[in-house]
Symmetry: C2
Subunit: 354 residues, 2 copies
Amino acid sequence: MTSNNFPSGIDRRIFVSGLALLPALSSTVLSTLVQAQTAPGALASWNDGPAKQAILDFVRATTEQGSPKFVPLEDRIATFDQDGTLWVEHPIYSQVVYCLDRVPAVVEKNPKLRSVEPFKTVLSGNREAIAKLSLHDLEKILFATLTGMSVDDFEAEANKWLTSAKDGRWKRSYTELIYQPMLEVMQYLRGNGFKTYIVTGGGQDFVRVYSQQVYGVPPEQVVGTAAGTKFGYRKDGAPFLTKEPKLLLNDDNAGKPEGIHLMIGRRPYAAFGNSTGDRQMLEYTGAGNGARLMMLVLHDDAKREYAYGPAQGLPDTKVGTFTQALYDEAKKKGWPVISMKNDWKRIFAFEQTA
Amino acid sequence: MTSNNFPSGIDRRIFVSGLALLPALSSTVLSTLVQAQTAPGALASWNDGPAKQAILDFVRATTEQGSPKFVPLEDRIATFDQDGTLWVEHPIYSQVVYCLDRVPAVVEKNPKLRSVEPFKTVLSGNREAIAKLSLHDLEKILFATLTGMSVDDFEAEANKWLTSAKDGRWKRSYTELIYQPMLEVMQYLRGNGFKTYIVTGGGQDFVRVYSQQVYGVPPEQVVGTAAGTKFGYRKDGAPFLTKEPKLLLNDDNAGKPEGIHLMIGRRPYAAFGNSTGDRQMLEYTGAGNGARLMMLVLHDDAKREYAYGPAQGLPDTKVGTFTQALYDEAKKKGWPVISMKNDWKRIFAFEQTA
């Protein structure tokens, strides 16, 4: 799923040598080893333009030795929203599809739910009725399908679904519907010493199932909406954790900087989003000193993906809302807005390169 | 504060090259680059014996190419309790001293508290009365002194205290009272590709202030008892986070594996503790497949540090309780117990080497 944009050869390996494993070396020494990497092929799916330039300028300013805005290696943190920023969120969040797909199995275990709303509607298969379920109904479905099992059982179930489920439009796995240009940004930042985090309104445990394989982001670098777990023992004495229907972190809107503080403990230098749910994360990132990069993905490409806003007169589809007010704030604060139509040569890895 | 036990020279740096920064290289390739490091000088403050041998054996089993219990680089997670495992916890947790020291400043801001318990007792300076405060009183003091300010103000205050406060017995900074042998275990594990985490019942934000400098552990690798924060805006529009008196994670006992799942998302391969508060973390670690290392520090050295249990007939001092039941469980399950008296050549870095 990931693609390798680094130049081959041992020299690069020596260059960025042993950063995570040599805590005894001073960060100054390490920083000199990691200079801005403008490898040929970096950001290959990006058209030249202000968005690509903003990324290159930020990396140069924060990593080049002698730069007045140089950032020590250990402070290089970048956060990425997932839905609509790293992968497709239309017409419905993939994790919601997972939960809806899980309803029959949940009802089989607990038959009383068969005649109870909202489960009855989901089982009817009536797409229009399902689309009209309230947020409150959706929450009931999420808790019923995402909690009440061991964390190991959940991981196995989610894994199984991810390898078999296909989206309706491209007929591909959901994990193939990630944006190749954003994957390249993550790789480019990591190649320059940044730790990349996913900070998502989606379920933390869900995204952790595939984050390493799909994005190269280890589970511990996924911050998401999280329910509590409960430690207990099986009959044979083996300890295990059960997912509880108790919300610990609602990682959206103001919950994003709160989640970043809880899970990372410091302010990012770069943050990427695409909707009002990411506003506070970008504001919090931008409130730090020195060079900070805040970017928003605008879905303005109905042909290759989807077009929605309502910023810039694009249709308001209620999923991943990018308001005109957020657009205006971005312009006012100098946050580059990424036009999928104009800034990206290709959107998915499976497309032929232009 | 940290000492460098690695052999010098570029060869080692090449060996463990670029692990964090080259996600595009397969883990198999990377794993072959990181073989068990038995550098001369590793674990220098340990006497030869079963405890030291258990650490060496575990690292060999999990990192040597071809070992049936080889663990891929990205799965190498080790967790360490702090109080009593990494630094002195007697006669009173350092963070509690911090909170008591903060009481006058809190009362100055809110004079009504002056005549209210438990603040009145703390202000009296009567040590015996303070030592008798109930857990409930202590909680009131913790919430009053650790919440209600911005995360930046808290960090500045804690930093200031840490650089000036001295313990009563050694007359040294609390951050000097870390156990040199345990620091060497952390360095040795990191040198072999393990990510080291602190998993503490202490305050997450407190420990994060000094974790990098003292232990070489970055803030995001500190899991601790955590209160929520609240995102808001200052009068000038700048966003900031306020520490709220709302407990999110009580990271002790069963809360330790629960916190590990929340913050790391996978089971550790090694876990170190010293009291009943660490029992569930060690059990959870031990329930995984393959080679797992669970170790407990027994404080049996009244001369060089302190002696308390009540395991093995040592006095029960109520701080960092190591019960006989926990000792028996360790023996039954094969968890090596570290005798500070017998296994450690020296306890603190400031001691002369034997």
